[in-house]
């Protein structure tokens, strides 16, 4: 390192800035942006990655028209929307609730927070595998516990097309509620005490304090948490791939799972690239609008 240090000694700050940033930039361009442009280019062709000798033809917007006109794709989008909306609503409520409770400083607070957070650090794919065991209709612990409280008889969370969409919502909620909780907790801890003291002086009720002080202060944090979760769950692949792999039939076939099937099982590279571009634009568009709304709420 020493010789390298000496060699650069005369460099100006500007040169150093570029030398420091360049490797990161080049890698991102090569492994992220180039593939994206490649995908966009392929999305206008009839390319099949498994048929190498075949002539690749430019087909214009055909792939896009095909996707947007396909009823099946809208079904997948609905399944994805069901998953994203329910996970966000449930995780927002439970996460905020837990954060409010944790904010009352009791003994062992830090330890409990760390333990509660554990599920979200685990590998989603591995989590998916072990939940298939918990959901097993014959020997699963989940089914046993549910039947302990109310006897439903034998039911199959993963095998039934009405229950399967909820099975992924439950696991995602188990795993990611701590995420919302942690961020909301940071929001709650950032509220200065004097706001409550002033409210007490004005004889505001506890409920009024909650509505006028606590909620508005924590809202930007909650919205940020939901932005992260929303993007992640829109892209959701690993957990569901191992838990239900899109089944039964296509009851839990989220956008990314469908994309994987089209791209790596049917090898429709051109078509799936177009779908990938549509998904990316959707995430980007939603994300941008959301951030604008979020900033407006923050400024208010």
């Amino acid at each position: 390192m020493k010789s390298a240090v000496k060699k650069f000694k005369g460099l100006s700050d500007k040169a150093i800035a570029w030398i420091f940033i360049a490797p990161t930039l080049i890698l991102l361009l090569a492994i992220n942006i180039y593939p994206l442009i490649y995908a966009i280019r392929m999305s206008f062709t009839n390319f099949y990655a498994n048929k190498i000798g075949r002539e690749v033809k430019f087909v214009g917007l055909k792939n896009y028209k095909k996707i947007l006109g396909k009823e099946e794709i809208w079904e997948k989008m609905q399944i994805t929307a069901h998953f994203v909306c329910w996970t966000l609503v449930i995780q927002a409520l439970i996460g905020l609730g837990l954060a409010l409770l944790l904010n009352k400083k009791f003994k062992g607070n830090e330890l409990l927070t760390t333990l509660i957070v554990l599920p979200m650090m685990l590998s989603p794919a591995v989590v998916g595998v072990f939940w298939t065991y918990l959901y097993n209709p014959q020997v699963g612990l989940f089914n046993y516990v549910v039947n302990f409280f109310y006897d439903f008889g034998i039911f199959d969370m993963i095998g039934s097309s009405t229950l399967a969409p909820w099975s992924i919502v439950i696991v995602d909620t188990w795993m990611w509620t701590p995420f919302t909780m942690l961020i909301c907790l940071a929001g709650l801890r950032s509220i200065p005490n004097y706001l409550y003291e002033a409210a007490e002086v004005d004889r505001a009720s506890k409920w009024q304090q909650f509505i006028h002080i606590t909620l508005p202060s924590v809202l930007p944090f909650l919205l940020l948490a939901l932005l992260f979760r929303g993007i992640e769950n829109f892209k959701m692949f690993d957990l569901v791939a191992e838990l239900t792999s899109g089944g039964p039939g296509s009851a839990t076939e989220l956008a990314s799972i469908n994309l994987k099937r089209e791209a790596f099982e049917k090898w429709k590279t051109g078509y799936s690239s177009a779908f990938a571009v549509i998904l990316f634009v959707t995430i980007f568009g939603f994300g941008n609008v959301y951030v604008k709304v979020m900033n407006k709420i923050k400024d208010r």
Binding site: M1, V5, L27, L141, K206
Partner: protein
């Protein structure tokens, strides 16, 4: 609900106790699935598929033996003709009327996870700290756009770029190789490492380097000898986050690796016993795979919030 608006300092004894009780109940419920998996790893195959589920059971290492070995079932007279088993695990396998035919693929997959994880972590933290320092200290044109661009690379669904990367890697001979996966995970981690490290470096006062530079250090020397040592905690926290990500990653691993560089997450679901999944062995694999992450989480607890929000929320 009304009580929730109380500021923490004046929460009454009762409401504090109630809150603690609810939190403890939640904690217990949320840890049941993980504890159950660990418990399953110490069950015998029969006990793992008994109903009602056994909370108390005779512990067995069958799951771990099955995880690390390949076995085949043999007729009784053949087993009787064999010399007595030398080791406890052979004895265990014999008692199930099987013989060990060799080591399983778990160890190579686990070490692949380690090699790729450490490699990617090293490069993403190294390159990330250089970029973060430049973005933290110097006037860079379009800095905000650059930072947003770096972050936006995280918004691609991995499957969307997986196809072109797959084709690219096939052409370059990087498919199913350790190098290919290290490069890929380095890039995926870069956005996190740049954002986190920039936050940490922003917190180091400029005066330190300026003082060092007045003492005759060049900018480079000041960076390596003053700033980096100051940022050790931040670098360590960032490294652990990068490690956890690479360790847990599944989508790219399952699509781009198969025989040579496959990591543990795509491998664990494929552990099959006779007539279905071998739950104790899967439990054992899961337990061994999750333990490092749980330890890291405890180590990281003070920086957790920062890491999961890319530095957007700091405590």
């Amino acid at each position: 609900m009304m009580d929730t608006s109380r500021s923490p300092s004046e929460a009454s004894g009762f409401s504090r106790k109630l809150a603690a009780t609810i939190i403890i109940v939640y904690m217990v419920v949320t840890l049941i699935p993980i504890s159950w998996m660990v418990a399953t790893s110490f069950k015998s195959v029969d006990s793992a598929i008994s109903y009602p589920p056994e909370v108390f059971f005779e512990p067995s290492l069958e799951g771990y033996v099955n995880l690390f070995t390949n076995r085949s079932r043999q007729p009784k007279d053949y087993l009787d003709s064999l010399p007595p088993p030398d080791t406890w695990y052979e004895e265990l396998v014999r008692s199930r009327e099987m013989v060990i035919t060799g080591p399983s693929k778990f160890l190579p997959r686990y070490s692949n996870s380690l090699i790729i994880g450490f490699g990617a972590t090293f490069f993403s933290v190294f390159l990330g700290s250089l970029a973060a320092y430049a973005l933290s200290r110097f006037k860079v044109p379009l800095k905000d756009d650059l930072l947003f661009f770096i972050l936006s690379t995280r918004m691609f669904p991995p499957i969307a770029v997986a196809v072109p990367i797959f084709i690219m890697y096939r052409k370059l001979g990087l498919g199913d190789t350790h190098v290919g996966m290290i490069i890929l995970y380095t890039v995926v981690n870069l956005s996190l490492s740049v954002w986190l490290l920039k936050g940490f470096m922003d917190e180091i006062p400029r005066e330190y380097e300026e003082a060092a530079m007045i003492d005759g250090y060049s900018r480079m020397q000041a960076f390596f000898k003053v700033v980096l040592p100051q940022a050790t905690t931040g670098i360590a926290a960032t490294a652990i986050f990068c490690m956890i990500f690479s360790w847990n990653e599944y989508a790219f691993a399952v699509l781009l690796t198969q025989f040579n560089a496959q990591t543990a997450p795509p491998f664990i679901p494929t552990i099959i016993g006779e007539g279905g999944l071998d739950w104790p062995a899967i439990g054992a694999g899961t337990t061994l795979f999750l333990i490092p992450v749980m330890i890291f989480t405890v180590v990281l607890r003070k920086h957790l919030l920062r890491g999961i929000t890319f530095g957007a929320v700091r405590k």
